[in-house]
Amino acid sequence: MVNLFWFLSWMSYLHVLGFDLKTAHLFLALCCCILSEIPMNWFINGGFMEKRAGFLGYREKIWLKLWEKIPASGLKFHHYYQYIWSKKFPRKWWKNLLIAWVIGWIVVSSWLFWYMSYMVTERRKETLASMCDERARMLQDQFNVSMNHVQALSIVISTFHHGQNPSSIDQATFARYTERTAFERPLTSGVAYAVRVLHSEREQFEKQQGWTIKRMDTMEQTQVQEDDYAPETQDPSPVQEEYAPVIFAQDTISHVISIDMLSGKEDRENVLRARASGKGVLTAPFRLLKSKRLGVILTFAVYKLELPSNATPNERIQATDGYLGGVFDVESLVEKLLHQLASKQSIIVNVYDTTDTSHPISMYGSDEEVDHKMYHISTLNFGDPIRKHEMHCRFKQKPPWPWLAITTSIGVLVIALLLGHIFHATINRIAKVEDDYHKMMELKKRAETADVAKSQFLATVSHEIRTPMNGVLGMLQMLMDTDLDITQQDYVNTAQASGKALVSLINEVLDQAKIESGKLELEAVRFDLRAILDDVLSLFSGKSQDKGIELAMYISDRVPVTLIGDPGRFRQIITNLMGNSIKFTEKGHIFVTVHLVEEVINSIEVETDLSSKNTLSGLPVADRRRSWETFEKFSQDGHTCPQTFLSTSSELINLIVSVEDTGAGIPFEAQSRVFTPFMQVGPSMSRIHGGTGIGLSISKCLVGLMNGEIGFVSEPLVGSTFTFTAVFTNGCSNSNEHKNQKNHQSKCLSSEFHGMTALVVDPRPVRAKVTRYHLQRLGIQVEITSDLNEGFASMASGTAVINMVLVEKEVWDKDMDFSNCFVQKLRKTVQVNPSKLFLLANSISNTKNSSVKFGGYTPTIISKPLRASMLAASLQRAMGVGNKVNCHNRGLSILSLCNLLKGKRILVVDDNNVNLRVAAGALKKYGADVECAYSGKRAIELLRPPHHFDACFMDIQMPEMDGFEATMGIRKMEHDINSRIRHGEISLEAYGNILNWHVPILAMTADVIQATHEECLRCAILQDTVRCLNVYSVVPKSLKDKKKGPGFLLECCFLCMPCSVDKIKMMEEKGVMANTKSTQELAVEGLKHLEDTIEAAYQILSSMNEELCNPAFWSTTAVAHSSNGINADASDSSHHLETGGGALEESRLCYKSSVASLRAVLSAIPSTRKSKAYEASSTSTGSEPQADQAEIEKLEERVTKLKKELTDKNKHLKLLIDQLRDLITDISTWQSPCPV
């Protein structure tokens, strides 16, 4: 309750301060809560805090919000608690609060104690008072009864003694009468009558009575001592004015007869007062004669006549006849009375005469003083107004201890203290936990920073190692080019292999570190999945051919052409899985399939009929369905699953990719740790196959980033199948676009095949399916037969015209004679041109002997793995042009380099004088017209349209205005001007008739990390860090070898060429990819460009149109050389270039006509043994190089002339093209003989 008052007072205080009603309500609620004693001490204490907070006048709002919610939900208490705690109430406050709590409850409990004992006392007092009053009343009543009787006696005497003459009453009568009526006066011990005798009547009276009037005072002195008291011995009363001798007395006090009552002091007073007042008068208590008990005497006057009630005292005195006195024995009286009442033992009664207030006379009871002051006083009225009497009552026993109060208050205190203790403990606990938590957080932070530092260190160190390693590898590369004996060669090879392994390890570690630190972010760019798989396939084609493994891929038609996602990472996963497969597979096949997830789910029954025998190579494989058994997507309820996929399929594409091999498989005991980093199947594994065992773990992370899952199934000695899912966004927003793109794709691949029909002879359905897939990509319709006879039959009977026949070489080789026969038949009966017969061969070596065997006619051999572009090229060559066409050579490229650079105006921006000079020098060397600028600002000035620059090389790190800033400035300026031109605000003529100003800007930096490609993209700098940014290290290095030197610059200039704006755009788009791609991938990309461009070139040549002058032709060479450039400076990836070389090798087979250009590419890859041999052979033939050089230059000139004429739209186009063809043939013949 004290609390309540406390809070109420606070509340009113707050009211005074102007807090709104809400606060008041809140406080009321609080008080209620506290009073209802909710055992949540924090809550109560929260109230305290609230009070303080309110008092301090801050955070009211927060508190209000907090507390408003309290009635709503008690469950939120914890939350609030945390909230309060998190507000960081100072610990001190909590301590103070605790102390206040304890003190408060001590006060409360002591108050409680006091209150309860007070109540007890009060009750006691009340009891006492009532008892006392009761006694007093009874005493008074009994006294009054006795008094009335005495008065009645006085009337008797007046009537019978004075009223009759002679008196009818004598002593004996009186004594007897009084004796017999004594019961009516229980309180009187005796009654006596004294008559008034005047002095004049004394003698007569004495004579009449026979005795003299005696005085009392002497008697009084002796009465105590003498029991046998004799009135005769008393002295006679001295002479007085009047006397009052007792004439009648009850027997009990007969000794007072003849004694003059006026002689006793008390009695005289009494008598005088009685006759004056006419009422009963009491004496002060005194010791009675004889009985020696305390008593009082009641005196009534007896008058001669009836007096009126208002008679004056004098009249009364005159009328007085005598006096009647009654002796009251007060002690016995009271005792008797008390005996009648219950609980007489519990209280002590004292009766006092308090007429003289200062000296009360005790009439009854012991005088012993009792300490405790609790007593009750009741006044007694005995009818005498002068005399006052009181009755004092008190308890005999001391009051008992107030046990109830004591226990209650102590109990309350104990509870409060316990609560306080709990609270204290809680606070301590919380504080401890909080401290621990902070400590933990601190440790966690430290651990995290340590981890980050580790990752950063790793990344930095790896990066730092990579840079010098490139140097090491480059040097090794060069060393290999020098004249070495076999041992040295071997050493160098080993060193280089180790170096490459190291670099690839570092790359992987970098990836891992990136993933671990969460820095790896996936890109979202459009990409063509099929193209990527083509790339990966070509990457591995060399190796697979070496090993004699069949490599194939199949992508479901339902997979969209373009997807949005991270192609680089996707490729990384596939490369990784395929790399593993290739590593562990010695025979059989590796088969990559891509489907939509829903497709796989819906067609599980379709999959089932693929028995284990019915595989690509006929070898048994692990059941791939088991590899995705653990996937969550599949483990969901089968019914709901497809629907969910379908519902999302319009936007999100769930791909499922399987890589199936027939390799060694993974031992069962090792399968559990396949995805653990750096864990390999066995320690011997890395020695046999190399690798670090990090690849799969990276792949798993990457798959996870793509919202997919990865799993595998593996049977030792049968093979493994790795399957993963990945989620991409559909690149084609609707199906129409999808179709268009598809059409477009097939068109650009080979429009001329559209509508053709091909017959595939293959006994294995899976393999046939792959072949059909690739042919369908070209727009060719496919029929499949399982053997030649059947094929022939279908051709003969078929209504459709078969345009080409593709025969699996396995079938072909089975029976050569029959095959021969088949060819004959074909030729004769069906009139199918044998040139339209193709063999699908797995490896090149086999091809050769078969072609040798097949004397009369050699069918075109298409080597596997099949890829759409390669297939198209082969078919084109065989069916379309048919003739050999050489379109590339090295001479041309150098020529085009010079041509491209010559006269081009290039702006070089660098704040560093020396760097500027070097860059300018390098560019000038190739005929460019170089201008220099020392700052970004100057560059902006110079590049304000209209200007005449074809390109700009920009340093990134510059003071004042860095490269990014400058580029943004330039872009903004260009944008402004472009829009103004478009709006016609400024004339087109004034701006050189160029509608869209966009100067290619190439960033230069020695610091690849800093030039984050996002930044570059933002600025729309052509970002291609690996190939062209690092000018200082790349340019001069490339220049070192004159043969491959132009590569870099050529590429730069190719990019700078205004005519290849599309290319630049493409590169800009790909810039996103380029940064993340390894050089190896760039090389592959370059090769792909090469292929594409070769195809384009073929088309140009074959159609003989004026498009010949299209720069795409020249860019062909450019690309070829760009790949050279890459190869040259990216020696670390030469491992992959070997496979790239393989791809080239194979391309060479496909494009026999373009052998020369590919030779150039190959010769530029000194790491490949072939080129080594080639170079050796070329040097061994004497001074050919110099001669070549001269010849090349000559050729260059001619080509230039030709090109000029072509671009001038010479009418003799046909002729010129023939010339050109001849020229190319010349070049190819100049090339050293092909080893094939």
Binding site: V914, P959, P1036, L1039
Partner: protein, 151 residues
């Protein structure tokens, strides 16, 4: 002195510069950029380097002498010097600059001063060497010889 002898000396001298690590591959590449159309390319670039470097070294000395060192300025200067020295192929100057830059990032004045001394020393060393190299080349050219290319 015979031209052939001089040429051999030049080759030896150049080789020694590379051996001592004063120059690196970059210098060779620089030399390769030089041709008939641009016969004094190397000398030109190198003298630009000398000018720049001396200016930068003086600036650095001044900046580091001041009461309150402006490390950003120092950093910029060192970065420039590093850039130009690496372009020239003055390897040891470049390495000195890298160390210098690290000290600068740590705001370590003592280290910076030490590095400055070292870089200066390296710079003058390479300057002397290059000057004598160019003198030798001049002599050869004057004597009608040709400058052999390093391979």
């Amino acid at each position: 002195m015979d031209v052939n002898q001089m040429e051999r000396r030049l080759v030896d001298y150049t080789a020694s510069l590379f051996r001592e690590g004063l120059l690196d591959d970059q210098f060779t590449q620089l030399q390769q950029l030089q041709d008939e159309s641009n016969p004094d390319f190397v000398v030109e670039v190198v003298s630009v380097f000398f000018e720049d470097s001396e200016r930068l070294l003086n600036d650095l000395g001044r900046t580091l002498d001041q009461q309150i060192v402006d490390f950003k300025k120092v950093h910029d200067h060192v970065h420039q010097l590093k850039g130009s020295s690496s372009s020239i192929g003055a390897q040891r100057v470049k390495n000195g600059c890298i160390a210098f830059r690290n000290f600068c990032e740590e705001h370590n004045i003592e280290g910076c001063l030490k590095c400055l001394q070292q870089v200066k020393q390296e710079y003058f060393l390479v300057k002397n060497k290059l000057e004598s190299l160019f003198r030798l080349e001049q002599q050869i050219l004057a004597a009608g010889g040709s400058i052999p290319m390093m391979e």
